[in-house]
């Protein structure tokens, strides 16, 4: 069954200059393994291709049970000079959560 990431995880966007930082945290810690297995940096780069022009790095935090995606060249010219409506890219946490996912239930026990 197809669903979106928003049903099993939450996210907050942060910015440093022209770099967009997106956390991805499961509501239920049992779903962390599924996220770690399924949500790669490449998938995020493809999903956000209209915003993210540079590389995407993924950090895995097993202790915290969270993922962190660092997206370079992602905020046009950066927060201070961008013409975009949301120059910080704060709303992009919810863009990540729009990602469609499959086989979600297979990830559980």
């Amino acid at each position: 069954m197809k669903t979106t990431l928003s049903t099993l995880a939450h996210s907050r966007a942060g910015d440093k200059g022209n770099t967009l930082i997106l956390s991805l945290i499961p509501f239920d810690e049992d779903d962390f393994d599924y996220l770690e297995r399924e949500i790669s940096a490449e998938k995020v780069k493809t999903h956000l291709k209209s915003q993210v022009k540079g590389e995407v790095l993924r950090y895995v935090l097993p202790e915290l049970k969270a993922l962190q995606f660092v997206c370079f060249d992602a905020l046009s010219s950066g927060v201070t000079t961008s013409l975009a409506m949301d120059a910080h890219g704060k709303s992009l946490s919810y863009a990540l959560l729009e990602m469609e996912i499959e086989n979600f239930n297979d990830g559980r026990k």
């Binding site: 440093k16 202790e63 915290l64």
Partner: protein, 440 residues
């Protein structure tokens, strides 16, 4: 030396609410209140105000915040640490002294100086972002080094009631009282790392108490209209419990703490501050009771030899115009309106952009392609070197009223000056700090 201190964060950005800080002082039994009020660009804006008026350039809300807080701070013996000094901490301290005298209170203010290194910049330094000489960006207006906890320690040792700084790394505002009260060795990098974790969790105020976390469907948070700001009870060993004043709105949970821990962190294993390179990999949270989250773990590595310097420059003007369309063919009419403005004036601008608010203005066309909106707001933005040209954007959007297309309503126009910020790294040996004491 104390075994435990209580530190609250009453503001997480320059425009933050005032009453949560008052509640923290009244009911939080705090040793320290921190107000973090300086975003990346705030200090460049403040520098421009200082240029026009040598007595300006501190936080625009300083007067209101201090007037409300000072009597409470004195009554509850809570010391204040804040970066509201912005581009002009000395003038900010003079204003605080004036307020204290008016309120008949004796207050000792310690001003931390040394972050403003504009005089040391040649303009030839290469930016971290584009590896281009600073002066190639535009007219430079400010250069402020991120100072660390060390710069704040002499101010705390002076016994001041209020410590006023300019640019200081946000977590350092919180780490300083820990180092001071617990007598931490600053080369114990694990302790400095733990303290930095606590500072980072607190620094955005309402972001950890459920505020910016909230979503009424997936992450509902109670009583957000009276959102409480956070406080931490910190132990000498660097562990802490984050909570908030009873009776305030919001929630502190493992989930809110996780979101805040990762906020704006480029590399969770290497979080650079002037005090330490903190490692967040081992951090975990445990719920002790409702709205009480214990912070465990966190380590650190030796501090960097360079300090980051934020350099502000004049980057021209942005002009914007907006107009709304609704009902049949709303998107088609908005698109026609956008095309008309684009054909008429786009060629005059360095950068020009058209957005359809309600559809793809935030996340682009890809994610919104299967969505439809009943109403659409056209937004046109252009970047120009003069305010007059920037103004043309809004004027042209407004002119759609009579020149069409049909049914456009609610036109608005805006112009604002743009200050850009880039960074350089400077050897910390080149930066010297000092304190200045004022008493009422």
């Amino acid at each position: 030396m104390k075994e435990k201190i209580r530190v609250g964060c009453g503001a997480g950005f320059s425009g933050d609410r005032i009453e949560p800080a008052m509640l923290l002082v009244e009911k939080g039994n705090l040793d320290y209140l921190v107000l973090e009020c300086l975003a990346e660009r705030t200090i460049a804006l403040a520098q421009k105000r200082k240029k026009q008026d040598p007595k300006a350039g501190y936080d625009v809300l300083l007067e209101r915040r201090i007037e409300s807080l000072l009597p409470l701070l004195k009554r509850h013996h809570t010391r204040l640490i804040t970066n509201m000094g912005a581009a002009n901490p000395l003038a900010g301290a003079a204003k605080i002294k004036e307020i204290a005298q008016k309120q008949g209170l004796n207050v000792k203010i310690a001003v931390v100086l040394g972050d403003d290194i504009f005089g040391k910049i040649t303009g030839n330094e290469l930016s971290m972002e584009g590896k281009l000489p600073l002066e190639s960006y535009g007219k430079l207006v400010s250069a402020n080094a991120y100072l660390g906890a060390e710069a704040i320690l002499p101010a705390l040792q002076s016994g001041a009631d209020i410590v006023l700084t300019g640019r200081v790394a946000d977590p350092s505002l919180f780490l300083a009282p820990m180092v001071f009260e617990f007598g931490w060795n600053q080369s114990d990098f694990d302790l400095m790392g733990k303290g930095t974790v606590i500072g980072h969790l607190l620094e955005c105020a309402g972001q950890i108490t459920g505020g910016y976390f909230a979503d009424p469907i997936s992450k509902p948070i109670p009583d957000m209209h009276i959102l409480g700001h956070p406080l931490a009870e910190i132990n000498k060993d660097g562990s802490a419990v984050i909570s908030k004043v009873a009776g305030t709105g919001g929630a502190i949970t493992v989930q809110t703490a996780k979101e805040q821990l990762l906020y704006e962190v480029i590399d969770p294993g290497n979080y650079y501050t002037p005090d330490v390179v903190a490692d967040f990999s081992s951090v975990r949270f445990r719920e002790l009771a409702k709205n009480q989250i214990q912070v465990l773990g966190g380590t650190g590595k030796p501090l960097p030899e360079t300090l980051k310097v934020s350099v502000g420059y004049e980057a021209g003007y942005i002009g914007e115009g907006e107009i709304s369309f609704a009902g049949a063919h709303a998107l088609e009419r908005a698109k026609l309106a956008g095309e008309i403005v684009e054909k008429r004036i786009a060629h005059q601008f360095e950068e020009f952009r058209i957005d359809y608010i309600g559809l793809g203005s935030l996340h682009g066309n890809e994610l919104s392609r299967n969505h439809q909106a009943y109403e659409i707001r056209l937004r046109v933005a252009g970047k120009a070197s003069s305010p007059a040209l920037a103004q043309l954007v809004g004027e042209e959007v407004e002119a759609l009223y009579t020149n069409g297309p049909a049914g456009g309503g609610g036109a608005r126009k805006y112009v604002h000056e743009v200050l850009g910020v880039v960074s350089i790294l400077l050897d910390r040996k080149e930066i010297s700090t000092s304190i200045n004491i004022l008493e009422s």
